[in-house]
């Protein structure tokens, strides 16, 4: 499945863009699978991804959360609000 992954904060600054398109080998990947695909697509993000979680439709996902067509997928790294 091809998935558009939204990026914010340091991740977006690293790539100088706010999203990246990744291709997973599975037709119905999990959240962990999307992060693995992101590592392959953008190796420069690997040092940052260890502190990241995937959000699906505005909610933090577990590793095994399935990703469906049309889901809004975002990588949330270390946050710094307030």
């Amino acid at each position: 499945m091809r998935i558009n992954v939204l990026l914010f904060g340091p991740l977006a600054q690293r790539l100088e863009r706010d999203s990246v398109s990744v291709q997973t080998p599975e037709e119905r990947p999990t959240a962990a699978g999307v992060l693995t695909a992101l590592e392959h697509a953008e190796p420069s993000l690997i040092p940052l991804l260890s502190a990241c979680k995937l959000a699906v439709n505005h909610t933090f996902a577990h590793d095994q959360t399935p990703i469906n067509e049309g889901d809004e997928v975002a990588v949330i790294g270390l946050v710094s609000g307030g």
Binding site: H58, V79, S80, G81
Partner: protein, 152 residues
Amino acid sequence: MARVTVSITDGPIDCMSVIAVDPDIDAGAVITFLGVVRRQEQDKTIDGLSYQTYDPMAKRMLHALADEALVLFEVEAVHVEHSRGIVLVGECSFRLMVAGVHRREAIDAVDWFITRMKESAPIWKTPVFLENNDTIREPKSIAFHEMRELKE
């Protein structure tokens, strides 16, 4: 009047504006916390902070935290405001108001909320260094090409 309100607004928050407390709420303590941008950020002198927010998720999470605070601390109302875009030194980027029957639960709820927000709400800040006094404030989140121009 809603017991929980959450808003994310462009630029600094007008911390002098009044948050109305529902007169039907039996609140004996109304605690307001203001988050203000400091000049020193991670040992650097800055002119401001640029906040980026993932709006739909940030609003959802801030609302969930406020709902949880109502239950955990048995407070009566929680109002949250956070900035997006540029907020200069001395300006307010975050305002939290908690109303409770007594002060202790309201103060505890404020501290708890801020800790949780800083751990999980999808909001990011980047230091801003102004080139000169004529720099114009961006009305919304700073663009990525502009981020590159910010000096570390």
